[in-house]
């Protein structure tokens, strides 16, 4: 299976007898380790030694999610266990454990950047860390996380796990108040929104690689919030929408064959629809006339591209979709004719024969 053009090493190779023997030994050792760990856990031996065994096992197979659950049992026991009356050695020990977990998951993530269970465990560790330490240390943990995620996205900017996790890290940073200095008795705003910087981050990522679904998606999610935080009035909102449309149309013009760009365009169009829920809207005061103008403008722009790229299915699909939206707002348009829609549908059938049934159905629904 290839991921973003990076193929995984395939398993089936011709193996010599020695290699096969060695593998059998490795399998036996692994099974032994699994049995040992499971036994210890059953006996509730939540000790450092068993933690070591679990580490060994997870290094070989981080996908074995039950073992991660076991690990958390052990860690929970170690972190919560009272070490006698004095509090501080416990904190230090706790910090060491937490840092150890962060190192382990970091090392594993470099080899398996898409394994859900590693990310999950790291998330749990950070939560545990936050519960255990003070506010500054907690913020530091999550800032460190954001930094790590930045590096992972630099290595593979389309890793959607990393993007999803980024949203979580950002949400945590936004939730934890910034520790105020003792001299400031009335903090004006201890909470910090990262929407602006995150928005800029998505700009940077799409400029580096236009095909970044996750970056566009994140951008889309940020925009309504961004506008609310800026206290944007109607003019500012329309301005932002126009800027976004300009940006994405520039991208479409550069590469009409890229699906992620069209998806974002579709998203922007969806915010125009009267059915769009309030929290996803960009402009709040659209009239039907406004909508018509937007649809018509987009259709005109996209049609120009056909001059040079007449075999791009996304173009026709988009034109059809826009025309349908337009018709929902104004059934009696002069901007395009039924014949046009029929022609676009015909192109779609030609360029995307695998979905013939779908296009047929669409044609019947639209009655064209």
């Amino acid at each position: 299976m290839a991921s973003h053009g990076v193929s995984r090493v395939e398993g089936t190779k011709v193996r010599s007898a020695e290699v096969r023997q060695k593998e059998l030994e490795q399998i036996a050792a692994y099974k032994e380790l699994v049995d040992l760990v499971n036994t210890k856990i059953n006996e509730r031996q939540y000790t450092i030694e068993v933690l070591g065994l679990v580490t060994k096992l997870l290094n070989e197979n981080p996908e074995y999610y039950t073992i991660w659950n076991h690990r958390r049992r052990i860690l929970g026991a170690l972190l919560d266990a009272p070490l006698g009356g004095d509090h501080s050695p416990q904190d230090f020990h706790g910090r060491e454990l937490i840092d150890g977990e962060l190192s382990l998951t970091f090392a594993l993530l470099r080899k398996f950047p898409k394994c859900y269970w590693i990310w999950n465990h790291r998330n749990w560790i950070l939560g545990k860390g936050e519960a255990t330490f003070d506010i500054d240390a907690a913020r530091e943990l999550w800032s460190g996380e954001l930094h790590l995620i930045g590096k992972m996205l630099h290595a593979d900017s389309r890793n959607f796990h990393a993007w999803s996790y980024r949203r979580e890290a950002v949400a945590h940073l936004e939730r934890i108040p910034i520790a105020q200095p003792p001299t400031n008795p009335t903090p004006s705003c201890p909470l910090q929104s990262l929407a602006e910087s995150e928005f800029e981050y998505t700009t940077k990522m799409v400029k580096t690689n236009l095909s970044n679904f996750s970056a566009w998606h994140n951008r889309g999610k940020l925009i309504p919030r961004l506008l609310d935080e800026r206290g944007a009035d109607d003019t500012a909102r329309r301005h932002l929408l126009d800027d976004e449309l300009s940006l994405i149309c520039e991208a479409i013009n550069t590469d009409p064959f890229d699906q992620s760009i069209w998806y974002y365009h579709q998203f922007l169009m969806s915010t125009l629809s009267p059915e769009c829920p309030r929290q996803n809207r960009i402009v709040l005061t659209l009239s039907n006339l406004d909508r018509q103008k937007y649809y018509a403008h987009e259709m005109k722009y996209i049609q120009e591209i056909i001059e040079d790229e007449s075999d791009c299915k996304w173009i026709y699909e988009s034109l059809l979709s826009l025309s349908i939206s337009y018709l929902e707002v104004d059934g009696s348009t002069q901007v395009f004719k039924t014949a046009d829609m029929r022609s676009w549908l015909a192109h779609l059938k030609r360029l995307d024969p695998l979905r013939h049934g779908r296009w047929e159905e669409l044609g019947k629904t639209l009655d064209i």
């Binding site: 630099h154 400029k207 580096t208 690689n209 236009l210 520039e250 991208a251 013009n253 550069t254 590469d255 064959f257 120009e304 591209i305 001059e307 040079d308 790229e309």
Partner: protein, 520 residues
């Protein structure tokens, strides 16, 4: 050893240019007795690098001996500084400079790099990234039209791919579409033979406009990526397509945003030195300042002698010094008929500024670029449109990161295939235009420059012709601005003949001593 007279060798290599040095490297583990000579008293032949003083000696020396010279018409100029402004760099001492006669760029997928790794000499070399490519666009405001506002010329960055095209502010929508269509085609042009096969011989510019509707304004940047020295009217589709494809496919191989590298410390000379050093470690004997005798009557007492023990043919050759050596194989550069020679007018200019605007960062966490490529397309430097079509001028700008000049200065390596004095004038114009267009204050000045004509012969004098099949001749250097992998093909061929079946793998060696690998 005191004298070479009457010594016996397996291989005599004449000249320490790139091809000969790579051959010496290839033979360095073979156990053969190798004598490697060069009539110059420096390594590198036509690929050498010079300090200022060495350049001055080179200029004098070669002028005296111009019959079969690789370099002619050499002249150095050192402008007198008008004011002593302490903040502006002045010419530094001689050894602060390492001026490369061969500042070729090496594309990422070049087999050269692979062989430097497999032969283990890569550890002694450092490579730096070639960053932005620029095309000069002459401003509006001809002498004929006094009404239009005179616009200064500008340097436009050549797009490396889709995202560069996306961010470009200058091209209009339709132009971007045309360019993108071409870029999509070129990344897999071999599989779309029907688009270009029948147009192989067609001029590339015509191919672009007919098949891709690429407007005239975009032809120059695309031609620039082909990195050819010929006039557009002599540049075919067949020539340009693979070269542009190579350029675009190389980007990202070593890191985001760049596709080629240059060796540190003076172009290909560093590679010749490292190769010769490896050969010396393997037992090769090196003698500089000694070439073959070239007196016609006895250049070599070329007698073929059969030794008693084996029937290997051996040749006797006389060196310039009168010493006579015997060797089984002789290899050097071949003599070329003058009709096959090509020439380039070249100049090297030391500039009083780091020319920072030419070296914007390549990409996040990419290495800092040490070389910028500036192309002056055909016609961009001439005033009148009635002049004949001129070839382009290329300038490779090297920053002080290359070690070729002190910090605060940079080196311009300019070349063009336009011949004669007009060629030199065109180079000057290009250099002056570049310095006045780059947005640097104060306007950079020239501290020192040399101009010369390079001919496509090697830098160590040709081997005499011979019917003896143990005389091997390397073909002339191609003077391609980008390293041509065919060079390695030539070296391999020669190595094959010398080694027969006993050679093992070409340029694949183990480390002589265990080396702690820092990368692991």
């Amino acid at each position: 050893m005191d004298t070479l007279d009457n010594t016996e060798w397996d291989v005599l290599i004449v000249g320490t240019g790139l091809q000969q040095s790579l051959l010496a490297l290839a033979l360095s583990r073979s156990g053969k007795k190798i004598l490697h000579v060069d009539k110059n008293d420096y390594y590198g032949g036509a690929e050498a690098a010079f300090s200022l003083q060495e350049a001055e000696e080179w200029a004098k020396q070669v002028d005296e001996d111009s019959s079969i010279a690789a370099f002619t018409n050499i002249s150095i100029s050192k402008p007198q500084p008008t004011e002593t402004d302490a903040s502006v760099p002045s010419l530094s001492f001689s050894r602060a400079y390492s001026l490369a006669l061969d500042p070729q760029i090496i594309y990422a997928r070049s087999t050269l790099l692979r062989f430097l790794v497999s032969s283990k000499v890569y550890r002694q070399l450092e490579f730096l990234a070639v960053g932005s490519w620029w095309v000069y666009s002459a401003g509006a405001g001809d002498s004929g039209n006094t009404e239009s506002a005179s616009q200064p010329g500008q340097l436009l960055k050549v797009p490396n791919g889709r995202e560069d095209v996306f961010q470009d502010q200058v091209m209009d929508f339709k132009t971007k579409r045309a360019l993108m269509k071409f870029l999509r085609f070129i990344t897999e042009y071999e599989e779309q033979a029907e688009v270009w096969e029948q147009h192989r011989q067609q001029l590339f510019t015509a191919f672009l406009s007919e098949q891709f509707k690429v407007p005239a304004t975009l032809q120059a940047p695309l031609l620039a990526l082909a990195l050819g020295t010929a006039r557009p009217s002599q540049t075919t589709t067949e020539f340009a397509l693979p070269r542009i494809a190579r350029h675009l496919r190389s980007i990202g191989v070593f890191g985001a945003g760049f596709g080629s590298v240059i060796p540190k410390w003076g172009g290909m000379s560093e590679i010749t030195q490292v190769a010769c050093r490896a050969s010396a470690v393997g037992g090769g004997v090196y003698l500089l300042g000694k070439g073959l005798s070239n007196s016609d009557d006895d250049h070599g007492l070329e007698s073929v002698i059969k030794s008693d023990a084996e029937t290997k043919s051996r040749t006797k050759l006389r060196l310039e010094t009168g010493e006579v050596v015997t060797t089984q194989w002789v290899i050097g550069e071949g003599v070329q008929s003058s009709s096959r020679l090509s020439k380039l007018c070249k100049s090297i200019t030391i500039v009083s500024s780091p020319l920072t605007p030419l070296f914007p960062p390549i990409a996040e966490e990419a290495p800092a670029p040490a070389c910028a490529v500036v192309v002056f397309p055909s016609g961009s430097l001439v005033e009148s449109k009635e002049q004949m079509e001129t070839p382009p001028v290329h300038i490779f700008v090297h920053s002080s990161d290359t070690g070729e000049c002190p910090a605060g200065q940079s080196i311009l390596y300019a070349f063009t295939s336009l011949e004669g004095n007009t060629g030199f004038q065109l180079l000057d114009k290009a250099v002056q235009t570049l310095l006045s267009t780059v947005e640097v204050t104060p306007i950079p000045t020239t501290l020192w420059s040399v101009r010369y004509v390079q001919h496509s012969v090697g830098g160590s004098g040709p081997l005499p012709r011979s019917a003896n099949d143990h005389f091997l001749h390397f073909p002339p250097t191609s003077m391609d601005p980008a390293f041509d992998d065919a060079v390695l093909g030539n070296v391999r061929e020669a190595w094959q003949k010398i080694m027969g079946d006993d050679g093992g793998e070409f340029l694949v060696f183990q480390d002589r001593e265990p080396v702690a690998d820092d990368d692991e």
